[in-house]
Amino acid sequence: MPRILEVTGLKKHFPHRSRNTLPWRPRTMVKSVDGVDLDLEVGETLAIVGESGSGKTTLARTVLKLYEPTAGRIVLDGADITEHSLRRMTPIRRNMQMVFQDPVGSLNPRAEVAAIVEEPLRVQGMRPAERRRRVAEMLELVGLNPGYGSRYPHEFSGGQRQRIAIARALSVDPKLVVLDEPVSALDVSIQAQIINLLVELRRELSMSYLFISHDLGVVRQIADRIAVMYLGRIVEEGARDDVLLAPKHPYTQALLSAVPIDNPALRGVRRRRVLAGDTPNPANPPTGCPFRTRCWLATDTCATTAPELLSVSPTQRVSCHVATEPPQTR
């Protein structure tokens, strides 16, 4: 399959000046995204999972060039867009769209629904009559009454607002949609509806999704592949079932052991792995493996050398000295 998105060595560092630092001291950098490789095939859904502060959202926004990348390359549909200026990005936006987490914040409260949905079309230069038709079409596509165009966002429920946001993102018929926790602000019953809608739309419109989430239950329903992020890096990446059923990285194992089990008969079978401590400060990450401070398998090597993302099977890669070492040398 051809690739819609290829990201190599992507870094996004934010300057960070603590309160007590004098202006002429060198500023520390928060390494929100620190060397991420990703690729996404046409029609595929890649889920990025990780806890708060792992850099998921920064990764998503940097891929969309909402933040200027510090290093690395972003290739969308065969074209390198890393160095594109704001002006040159405008036509590219037709192919890459985004749905935000909070549908209250992502819809302008002073704009009518029709104006919100047609914003990308207007920017991309579609004529008014065509736009009107397209807006009605899009509202219908996401399961809203096309007559709602003249209403304001506050007249809708959370789920309906997220549908409006999806209609806006899909109005320009994008090839890649970045979904940044699109259901985590919604009620559980509504989450399923929106997930189903997204799955259905992806099939109908042959799009690719980059799906950011911290909810492994949601990811199970929508993802083809899963990448697990920790402290700005991908620690494990692979086909959905590989990652969910046979996680190799200790962090993924800990993450999965935190998912509640819905079958009471299975309770107690699985070992709950509770991580000690907090995520380290991304302005001052540990040497070597970023996870070693909380890892129960950490060795001396982990403190000195950062592990690389290595294949453990054709469909699974993991960044861990312990997991990728041959067992006999351990």
């Binding site: 405008t90 936006r93 935000f100 819809l107 409260p109 002073r110 704009a111 914003e119 806006r168």
Partner: protein
């Protein structure tokens, strides 16, 4: 629909209703002044100088609010003066809004050096007393109606720039602004289509209150002889003319003074009601 319910909301407030009536009266006087005025406001009549208002001894219903030192009908002159107040108030505030909102949006959206330059300029502007700055400019530009507008417009933009900048700083962090960038919008479009509508309510409210400030400022400049010049009639210059006869014929100054007080009070009450309705946050 929303607009109509807001209008009703303002009119339900007693202050808002009073203000709306005052504003309506001023506008009627400004537009239809010559048709309403019983006399030509500059017609002199030396036989009927310093006539008191009709309720006082010696007053007559022919000149309801009395006459001034040249026998001109005060009621007609007050009506005529409404035109100057309206033009100066509205035009000066429009100018301030145009400059202040633009600079505030740019400063708040781009932050950094541009923000620093604009806001330091605003600080310098605020450090000089308003009327002193206006007087200095008025001396340079020379008196007259339109230079008064220019003077007052140039002086008051800071208020708008600061409010708009502060709100832009918070609004620009909301996701819908980012969504507009995802759509491919350039910064100017984002500012106009996404941020501006969200600061409009505060701007409208502040602009209303600012109109009354400008009417007073115009009167002050005219009182000092730096504003409106004859044959134009302004309430400020009328008060100045009445100052000499304050002990013998106080009404010559008091009648335009009362007009000024009622007008600004009405506009302020209307502005307060409008604020409660549109933007309850900025008390």
């Amino acid at each position: 629909m929303r607009t109509w319910s807001r209008v009703r909301g303002v009119l339900r407030d007693p202050g808002g209703l009073f203000g709306a009536l005052v504003i309506a009266l001023i506008l009627i006087a400004a537009i239809a002044g010559p048709a309403l005025a019983p006399y030509d406001p500059s017609a002199q009549s030396l036989e009927t100088r310093h006539l008191p208002p009709f309720w006082m001894d010696g007053g007559s219903t022919a000149h309801l609010l009395g006459t001034d030192q040249l026998g001109r009908d005060l009621a007609s002159r007050v009506i005529q003066g409404a035109r100057v107040s309206t033009i100066v108030g509205v035009a000066a505030v429009l100018m301030q809004v145009l400059v202040g909102v633009t600079l505030g949006l740019l400063a708040g959206y781009w932050r950094g050096a541009l923000d620093a330059v604009i806001m330091r300029l605003a600080d310098v502007w605020l450090a000089v007393p308003f009327l002193v700055l206006a007087m200095a400019l008025a001396v340079v530009l020379g008196p007259g109606l339109w230079s008064t507008v220019l003077v007052l417009g140039a002086v008051g933009w800071v208020t708008f720039a600061r409010i708009v900048r502060a709100q832009t700083l918070s609004i620009r962090e909301r996701d819908f602004v980012l969504a507009s960038r995802v759509a491919g919008a350039r910064p100017i479009r984002t500012m106009r289509a996404e941020i501006l509508p969200n600061v409009a309510a505060s701007v409208i409210v502040v602009a209303t209150l600012q109109v009354s400030q400008m009417i007073i400022a115009e009167a002050a400049l005219s009182f000092l002889g730096l504003g409106i010049q004859p044959p134009d009639v302004g309430w400020g210059s009328m008060i100045a003319e009445g100052r000499d006869s304050l002990s013998s014929a106080w009404w010559v100054a008091a009648v335009p003074g009362a007009a000024l007080v009622i007008a600004t009070l009405g506009i302020n009450l209307f502005g307060d009601a409008l604020r409660d309705e549109l933007d309850p946050r900025i008390r």
